[in-house]
């Protein structure tokens, strides 16, 4: 921690101390008094502002929220929230505190505005094919920024697809997806992506236990289920230099057929470990259609499920020692080997825990049993003590040592009904926030003193919550976002499919110790699961304004098809018509392309523009190609001219007053 940060932490600490002493006094003043909604005049507001407030029925408290969230034209937000888009398959980025959506990143779903999947970026989507099948959506769950020394560095983002057990890599230089990897052994992945402190690995793990192979096995048969169905934690090795996952140097650790859930990477004192929770340690096999209780009942029978703790540094040793099996070309460390190497442990957690979050100092692991009312605060030092001395409560049916819950816990905090996830306030404050799905509330608590400090209602039914750098070694405080699953009556009617609701909460003032609701943001593209909020300066440093002229944006290197002004040409070689074209305000070169039915047509276009935001686009009738040509980009489309006719193409972006005049014709002659 540098001095400036240290100072900030210390100053917040002393503020908190003061607050603890004087909270009753403070609560009676300031924001709290506005909360009781006196007349605007009494709150020091008069003139036209008071008139507007009156006309729009804004309380002084609401006016304050308006002032705390409004960004004037041209003003940038201090933070960016990067959120998964759920089954939209995408990632969304919005500014904080303005809550203005500023970017949608095509990840697992083709997106024609970006040309994603409609030009040569289709090959990135094709990396995500499973058993040869093209998959055109994902269920994105947990975005994870790349980290340096346990804090976001703003270079890359990773995200998993729950539906299809895949992970994608997004480069922040251009906010574009560069790689998709499929998991060779899993059939769904919920947990992850969490990132180890220096982005050595991207950790994901299974959700629904399934066979590692691609054969038929009966999920309803208990014996088959116990023997064949498995979970796993996969450690995807990240090659930062290449900006790509290194599949050959990745590996998985076999896990029992419990439904492993969200994970987190250890840091500082817990560095080297990956943690996840689980449900269905009952190994219930369901069957409502045969008169059995449904999964939801059978998976919730036990009082405790298991947190899993896996040491990836020891995993590396196992791999080095050849202590693994190869399944579908992927290295898998068996449970037996993992146990033998002292790299796999379980500890019970109260009823169906959903999350696990590691404190900024790496020592405390927060978990909430969603059918419980507590946050369990585990102390990794206690856990290490038990591990080192091999003090076990026993073994699970797969021979994995189980640590004592009681002896692993620092303690429990009773937060409310349906506790799910946790995020942290500034390091040293010992303050965390817990989301309550059933209560529809956020709870602020001291996880050292095991004491609830504040509770605020949200609308409605929160899943994850996100604080600024809230899962790093250096959380920044200031804002918390509640990712609510239901909106119900909050926004205008738009038919039976409602948006989600992201609510922005002010946590900037530790003195008042009160959370304060600032803003409700409808979220109408998918169901976001998790988000990370990053200091916008980190993004600003990394993001490109324009591409170097002639960039292949899939590789971020100079394209071999880069074409400069005056060098445009069309080369016909047998049945292959290859166009080396350009775009600039406001024409394409060429404006006519001739070929015949059956020809392969390849069109490379370099956008010669150097001015920021002077994007062109290339759209064409019938051939289903849409290209976004940001300044400097060289893109390629390729298709078989399978139909005779005249096919207009044109610029898709309103680039100049003569934008409409930017067009041409592809003419396909009979064969």
């Amino acid at each position: 921690m540098n001095d400036e940060k240290k100072e900030k932490v210390i100053s917040r600490r002393s503020l908190l101390k003061k607050a603890a002493l004087g909270s009753a006094v403070i609560a009676g003043a300031g924001i709290a008094s506005l909360g009781s909604q006196p007349k605007a005049e009494a709150a020091g507001i008069s003139g036209e502002l008071a008139e507007v407030a009156k006309k729009r029925h804004l309380s002084p408290n609401e006016l304050l929220s308006a002032a705390k969230t409004y960004e004037p034209d041209g003003v940038h937000d201090p933070y960016l929230c990067l959120t998964s888009g759920g089954q939209s398959g995408q990632i969304m980025v919005y500014g904080v505190p303005s809550m203005r959506l500023i970017k949608v990143i095509g990840v697992f779903t083709p997106e024609p505005w970006q040309g994603y999947g409609f030009d040569d970026s289709a090959k990135i989507l094709a990396e995500g094919n499973i058993r040869g099948k093209s998959i055109t959506y994902g269920d994105t769950h947990h975005p994870g920024f790349s980290e340096t020394k346990g804090d976001y560095d703003g270079e890359y983002v990773f995200i998993n697809d729950k539906s299809n057990a895949r992970v994608a890599v997004i480069d922040i230089r251009d906010f574009s997806t560069k790689q998709i990897v499929t998991n060779p052994i899993l059939k769904s992945t919920h947990g992850g992506t969490s990132v180890t402190p220096n982005t050595e690995y991207i950790i994901v793990n299974a959700q629904y236990a399934a066979p590692f192979d691609d054969k038929y096995h009966d999920a309803k048969n208990q014996e088959v289920y116990d023997k064949i169905f498995r979970g796993a934690m996969t450690f995807w090795k990240f090659d930062r230099k290449k900006g790509r996952i290194d599949k050959d140097n990745s590996y998985s650790v076999e896990l029992p057929p419990y439904m492993q859930d969200i994970n987190d990477a250890g840091k500082l004192v817990s560095d080297g470990w990956g943690f996840c929770n689980s449900f269905n340690t009952e190994r219930y096999t369901g069957g409502i259609e045969s008169g059995n209780p449904p999964f939801e009942a059978g998976c919730s029978a036990n009082d405790t499920d298991f947190m899993h703790m896996i040491n990836w540094r020891k995993g590396e040793e196992a791999i080095k020692a050849g202590d693994y099996k190869v399944i579908n070309g992927h290295r898998v460390i068996s449970m037996k080997a993992a146990v033998a190497r002292g790299m796999l442990y379980l500890v019970p957690v109260m009823k169906s825990p959903h999350g696990i979050t590691v404190s900024p100092d790496g020592r405390y692991l927060l978990a909430s049993g969603k059918l419980d009312t507590h946050v369990s605060v585990f102390d990794f030092k206690k856990i290490q003590h038990l591990m080192n001395r091999k003090i076990y409560d026993g073994y699970d049916p797969y021979g994995i040592p189980i640590l004592s819950m009681r002896r692993s816990l620092h303690g429990l905090v009773e937060t409310g009904l349906g506790p799910l996830h946790n995020q942290f306030d500034v390091a040293g404050s010992n303050i965390a926030y817990n989301s309550l799905f059933v209560d529809s509330a956020i709870v602020k608590y001291d996880y050292m003193k095991l004491k609830v400090l504040d509770k605020i209602p949200i609308h409605y039914n929160v899943g994850h919550l996100a604080a600024v750098h809230g899962d790093t070694v250096n959380p920044r405080g200031d804002y918390l976002i509640s990712l609510n699953k239901l909106a119900i009556d909050r926004f205008n009617e738009v038919g039976p499919l409602h948006p989600q609701n992201h609510e922005l909460i002010d946590i900037s003032d530790p003195l008042h110790r009160k959370m304060r609701m600032l803003y409700a943001m409808p979220f109408p593209i998918g169901e976001p699961h998790y988000a990370q909020i990053i200091d916008a300066n980190l993004i600003k440093k990394r993001a490109w304004k324009v591409y170097p002229l002639g960039t292949d944006t899939n590789t971020m290197t100079r394209s071999p098809f880069r074409t400069l002004a005056g060098h445009e040409k069309t080369v016909t070689n047998g049945n292959h018509v290859e166009v080396f074209g350009t775009s600039i305000r406001s024409h394409f070169n060429p404006e006519h392309i001739y070929c015949k039915v059956g020809d392969k047509v390849t069109i490379h276009i370099t956008n010669l523009e150097r001015a920021e935001d002077e994007t062109h686009g290339f759209g064409i009738y019938y051939y289903n190609k849409s290209v976004s040509l940001e300044p400097g980009k060289t893109a390629t489309i390729e298709f078989i001219a399978d139909k005779e006719g005249v096919f207009p193409y044109y610029c898709l972006e309103f680039c100049s007053a003569l934008h409409l005049e930017m067009f041409g014709y592809l003419m396909v002659k009979p064969a």
Copy 2:
């Protein structure tokens, strides 16, 4: 007009009158004084609000904007802006004045969150196939609400796809796309959709001239171009009872190979007419690749291009009389027949006009030459006079009568550089707004007095603009949105592809007569072209909260596959496995589905929930199916089980605390 509305218009009129007299006095007070940004205290702001303003560097003017746009949690916006999404292929809806995105409607591009294109809604997308090819994006341009008596009725929305010459129908009951029709003769459509006053027709017209047939023709050959290439205006008949376009009762009118542009439907005195502008009346055939000037130069050579005026009631008569040709199964009235029937006229408009907008009373047609500095205000009564007396300035090369521009004009207003589009303030005010692409400004002017009243800079480069009901017989005033094409430096850095920028302008106070910038909204999903802003109460009346139990949402009728609780079953019939399933918090029934490789698997799911917003989803590994199950919906997915294995399926929406436990397994045995 009812009495209440009349009163409103009259009262606004008298306010305007007063304003005209006293504008100098008023301009010196109120908002204008805040615009000079004095200290907060001087503006009547003190206390915590003043502190926040100081800390966040908000001027009193900006605070006022915050107060004018902020919607507290749970408060609905009075207006909804429905905007095209450009080449994203979708429609977006956001609240006004909060500028919060509240809905994305899948139209021409599959969208997995909505299940659009991933369940049986795929058949709607398939209606948009062209020559057998599946097209998975569109370039949406101009949304048009259905109208009753010339005003939006909030029942349906129509939108065109420029790239592929298609039109979609969206039902506001559930904000979902119900129909896509392909244009049988056109290869691109820019203009439209505009809607006739009682939604008799949805009007679209060609953009890039092309042959009506699907044969090869050389676009570069002038003789071929003049003879074979054509534009058209298509009148899609709307069957409101069925909520579908009636293709069999639709028709087109052949037009010369000028690039027809945005259209508008006549109303009141001009009812029965469709209007559009055009560029490239030069019939330039381009060829920069051969050393010719590019299209942008050749298409901009003439001082004037043509507004086209077409009478669709006379078109109906022509169709009734059999005076048409059938091309690709579609009825086309030839230019010759249209001229003979007195239903097709041209009038010159200054340099490359882009838009045409009909005044609330139907009498004035506003057009802006984008390479000119004026808005041309045409008087339809003068035009009618010339038409009725057959007073022509001559004929174009295709024999279409040309009216005198001078004698058709009410007058010209000099607004600035790059004028594009127009919208109207409340009826009777005679106030319109003009967007200036090159100047990056919006101009407020009196189109009767031909006088500019105000000008406001925008950031940057506006295309369309939208006012509340701004193209109807009854514009509501209050707000104007500037749909800016470039954002450049306005928002946080997100790489080379920038969002668009929609700026909200306050036009609510005719007394002050000053437009006032309120809010900048980044728009990161496509490039919106046009938008309509509608009274939210109209939507509220129409939108459904939940579906009647067992609704086929493609047809909005009861599904034959509706399954009630306790009636779930799986029926195997030879190679067909058909599941009649249900979903309810928090399980599917069944939880196990068995089949063998090669089987056709059909899964019907009825969401039994009756509570608003209790949406479930159905996602499955590998088979690329994503279903959104809003309360009451019955959806179907169907696929060939082409691979052996175990395929988990699960609920895609976080529906309850036991959401993760809502899953099952499809098990595919070897054949």
